[in-house]
């Protein structure tokens, strides 16, 4: 019974190759998304109006357009708009997913900063800390335990979103799965489709659970380091 659910090693080889690309896209998007989250989340609360305004414009734009539309737009339209020949699909995928993640992340960061008691902001000002030190030493350390749980969920959403890059010819896990399906026509060892897709789903599930575990550990460590909130 269990044997029926397992693919052969050639097929797993393809899936694992795809998984590696999926992980690269995830890491790239996560890095870009985190930078955008922090910068835009802080910019949203700036005292300068144009800073606040442009952060809001970015957030509304990147959240309002669907990730998949952003992806196609980035891959097919942006290079032409800027007169470049083309964009590598990996870059387009990371840019689209990262910018999309950053918009959601910025709202998480903004909410967390606002939930740090006002007295902390005032005390930091009273101690004559510069804006930068106030943010880095006082506010963000207290915001991180609040940021982490929703940020973990957001990262899992990005992992799910990476499957979309298969539609712009990037050979990730979803792409390799589709390729195995299409090769069935000519293959000497055709793969039963329900088993194939089930295996792919389970690989994604495992990756998601690993992310979950990673964020649970980070949450526990930050709670210990910065005191429980």
């Amino acid at each position: 019974m269990l044997n029926d659910l397992i693919l052969n090693s050639r097929q797993y080889g393809h899936l694992l190759e795809g998984m590696w690309v999926t992980i690269q896209v995830l890491l790239g998007s996560f890095a870009l998304g985190t930078v955008m989250s922090l910068v835009m989340g802080v910019a949203r609360l700036s005292t300068r109006r144009w800073v606040r305004g442009s952060a809001l414009a970015y957030i509304e734009f990147a959240r309002g357009v669907a990730a998949i539309i952003l992806l196609f737009w980035m891959f097919y339209a942006v290079p032409i708009l800027f007169g470049a020949p083309s964009m590598p699909p990996m870059l387009a995928g990371i840019l689209a997913l990262g910018l999309n993640m950053g918009a959601y992340g910025a709202e998480i960061v903004r909410g967390a900063i606002q939930s740090v008691p006002k007295g902390q902001h005032e005390a930091a000002t009273a101690l004559n800390l510069s804006n930068r030190d106030r943010l880095r030493e006082i506010i963000l350390p207290q915001a991180i335990p609040i940021i982490l749980p929703p940020y973990g969920n957001l990262t899992i959403e990005v992992l799910k979103g990476t499957a979309l890059v298969s539609l712009i010819t990037l050979s990730d896990l979803a792409y390799e799965t589709q390729k195995l399906r299409q090769n069935n026509v000519i293959s000497s060892d055709p793969v039963p489709l329900p088993i194939l897709y089930l295996n792919t789903l389970i690989i994604y599930l495992i990756l998601a659970q690993l992310l979950n575990l990673f964020f649970k550990i980070a949450e526990r460590r930050s709670a210990r380091k910065f005191g429980s909130v």
Partner: protein
């Protein structure tokens, strides 16, 4: 190969793009109906005291929520017809596949929204129902759900805006929504800037007001339940 933006071409393709958008919206609306109903049953199933019901429900929700919608769509579109079940039962048009997939995927999210709403009903309400000797069915129907559902509405609304933004994934199984139309223009006219930009703008035109509406709903519910 084109360069830059051409207004004339943009206006020429606009009607077809809007047509595609209407299909994207239609598939979302049917998906919402499925998700609203399925989500409630999943939430109740998960709360059930029967372990054979609550455990599989919880696993199902977790599984669907942590795997990509795109693969779930492929599962329904390619893998389901390859099973031994009768063909009429498993082979659906892309439109049906899409709203079923959206309905199931976001039904699992909706169940979490309902769950939070149900858990926010104070314990005293349950105890009061018990002391009034209300049947369990009456308790759910007349006491708990009428209080829980309004509180679930804002998160539900957010999930449905997210569902709308996932609807163009249907182009992967050739559902002729807005993204599919854009790709059709791309392959017919070798133009990419106008179709994909218009697709993005159409999305902004729907999802920004929808998100603003959800935020208003959020404030109102917060006001009424405080």
């Amino acid at each position: 190969m084109q360069t830059r933006w051409d207004w004339e071409y943009a206006f020429e393709i606009l009607p077809d793009m809007v047509q595609g958008m209407l299909i994207t919206i239609a598939v979302t609306l049917i998906g919402i109906v499925i998700a609203v109903i399925l989500g409630l049953f999943l939430a109740l199933g998960r709360r059930s005291s029967l372990k054979w019901l609550s455990y599989p429900t919880a696993w199902f929700i977790e599984f669907v929520r942590s795997t990509p919608l795109l693969i779930q769509i492929y599962m329904l579109f390619y893998a389901l017809p390859a099973t031994d079940l009768p063909r009429w039962l498993t082979t659906w048009p892309a439109f049906v596949t899409m709203f079923v997939a959206l309905g199931i995927h976001y039904g699992c999210y909706a169940s979490e929204a309902y769950r939070a709403g149900i858990e926010s009903v104070p314990r005293g309400q349950w105890e009061a129902s018990t002391s009034l000797n209300l049947k369990i069915k009456t308790t759910w129907r007349s006491v708990i759900l009428p209080q829980a559902i309004p509180r679930s509405l804002p998160p539900l609304g957010n999930y449905f805006v997210a569902m709308f933004k996932d609807a163009p994934i249907g182009s992967a199984i050739a559902l002729s929504g807005v993204l599919f139309v854009a790709r059709a223009f791309q392959s017919a006219d070798f133009r990419t800037v106008e179709p994909f930009t218009i697709a993005g703008l159409l999305f902004l035109a729907v999802s920004v007001p929808a998100a603003a509406f959800v935020r208003r709903l959020e404030r109102r519910v917060a006001y009424e339940s405080s």
